[in-house]
């Protein structure tokens, strides 16, 4: 496992979060905030960037502390670190980006329990160096932001006929309101998962069951050994 980690180039770590191991569409983490905040482009981008910020900072700090934190209390330590950064981001957003704060509502503090962030802390940052962890956080965060932006664009343009709050000429007359509701969110989500599966088809081999079917298999130390 150690050798494999060293072989991974920085660029590969950064880029794989965007499509190949996209946290929302391939790892299927963070589904709840993706549904809730992708009704418009501006909230989607805001949510994505806030989560990226937290992910980057928490990955770096957890990677720095990985030798200090005892195994038995690692999850509480991660949660404290993550919750700390989320609260910092929340206070900054509330103070300087009031509109974004209002539209994100409860989903901003809920970044604490966003599985992408805890997932990356447990799967990657606790086993890798600071630089690679930072790249991983950035890549995963950008993947999350990109997915939210795409979902937000589809749902806002087709659902409410506007883009980032500006009305579009044709779409505002013929919109599909259900797309801005939760069923429409699931519909768009499913379509995007299908699209990404098609794009990565052949390159990402999936086995039906066991460790081989797990999206985390490349970073998990138990590769090949059934847990």
């Amino acid at each position: 496992m150690k050798k494999e980690c060293q072989k991974q180039s920085g660029l590969d770590i950064l880029l794989r979060g965007i499509i190949k191991e996209n946290p929302v569409l391939v790892l299927v983490l963070g589904t709840c905030p993706s549904m809730a905040t992708s009704t418009s482009v501006s909230t989607a981008v805001g949510m994505g960037l806030a989560a990226t910020m937290v992910l980057l900072c928490s990955n770096m700090l957890i990677s720095l502390l990985r030798k200090v934190i005892p195994d038995t209390v690692r999850i509480p330590c991660y949660i404290v670190v993550i919750a700390g950064f989320v609260t910092v981001v929340q206070m900054l957003v509330q103070a300087y980006f009031k509109d974004l704060y209002d539209s994100l509502g409860v989903f901003l503090p809920l970044i604490v329990v966003n599985c992408i962030i805890l997932g990356r802390a447990e799967m990657f940052a606790s086993k890798n160096g600071v630089f690679h962890s930072a790249l991983d956080g950035l890549g995963m965060g950008l993947g999350f932001t990109l997915t939210l932006t795409v979902m937000g664009t589809i749902r806002e343009v087709l659902g409410s006929g506007s883009f980032a709050g500006h009305e579009l000429p044709f779409f505002s007359e013929y919109n599909i309101p259900i797309l801005s509701q939760s069923p429409g969110g699931f519909f768009v989500f499913g379509c995007l998962i299908a699209l990404v599966a098609k794009l990565t088809h052949g390159r990402v081999k999936h086995e039906a069951t066991g460790c081989g079917a797990c999206p985390h298999r490349t970073v998990c130390g138990k590769l090949g050994k059934e847990a």
Binding site: T39, L65, V68, I69, P70, T72, V73, P76, C77, V80, V81, A83, G84, T87, V88, M91, L92, Q94, A95, Y96, K98, G159, S160, P177, S180, Q181
Partner: protein, 177 residues
């Protein structure tokens, strides 16, 4: 007890405590920076909302000493006699809709603004949105029977009407004092 066993008991406690203290210190620092900004913003927002429902009003003060009806949250009086602003709520489709209603001394509505609501996004926009179709008909209204519901958002409209009715009831209460 051997030394290693002891350290495996103590280390987790120490590490978690130190991390928690460090994070708490960072939070205290950031809070110090942002708290004044947030407070100033909230005051400005509250003031802006008051002016939106009662453009002629100045020097708003809270009306105290009244026993408020259940669905009236707050009553504020304009210092220059432009009227009262009532913060009330009514039950809509997705829970309570909280509304600010400005009423002038003649008992006519000067303006309304929805503060919080849980109505379906999109569907309820013609009722709860700022400057919506439903709220455009409200200025000048003196009785809830003059208000027309918006079709397609009847439940939201009824919630708003209930909130406005509460404001009129509260006005009667204030005038009776």
């Amino acid at each position: 007890m051997t030394a290693t066993k002891k350290s495996s008991l103590v280390a987790p406690v120490v590490v978690l405590t130190v991390i928690a203290f460090a994070i708490a210190a960072i939070l205290a620092f950031v809070n110090d920076l942002t708290a004044p900004v947030i407070q100033a913003q909230e005051e400005a927002a509250a003031q802006a909302a008051l002016l939106e429902v009662m453009p002629d009003g100045t020097d708003f003060t809270d009306v105290t000493g009244l026993e408020l009806p259940e669905n009236v949250v707050k009553i504020q009086q304009a210092g220059n006699g432009a009227g009262y602003v009532f913060t009330t709520y009514g039950k809509g489709f997705g829970g309570n809709i909280q509304v600010m209603v400005g009423i002038d001394p003649e008992g006519a509505i000067t303006g309304t603004k929805v503060l919080t609501h849980g109505e379906s996004a999109g569907i309820s926009d013609p009722v709860v949105g700022d400057g919506s179709e439903f709220q455009q008909q409200l200025p000048g209204v003196t009785d809830v029977s003059e208000i027309e519901a918006v079709s397609g958002a009847t439940k939201s409209s009824n919630g708003m009407i209930a909130a406005i009715e509460a404001a009129f009831d509260a006005l009667a209460l204030v005038n009776a004092e």
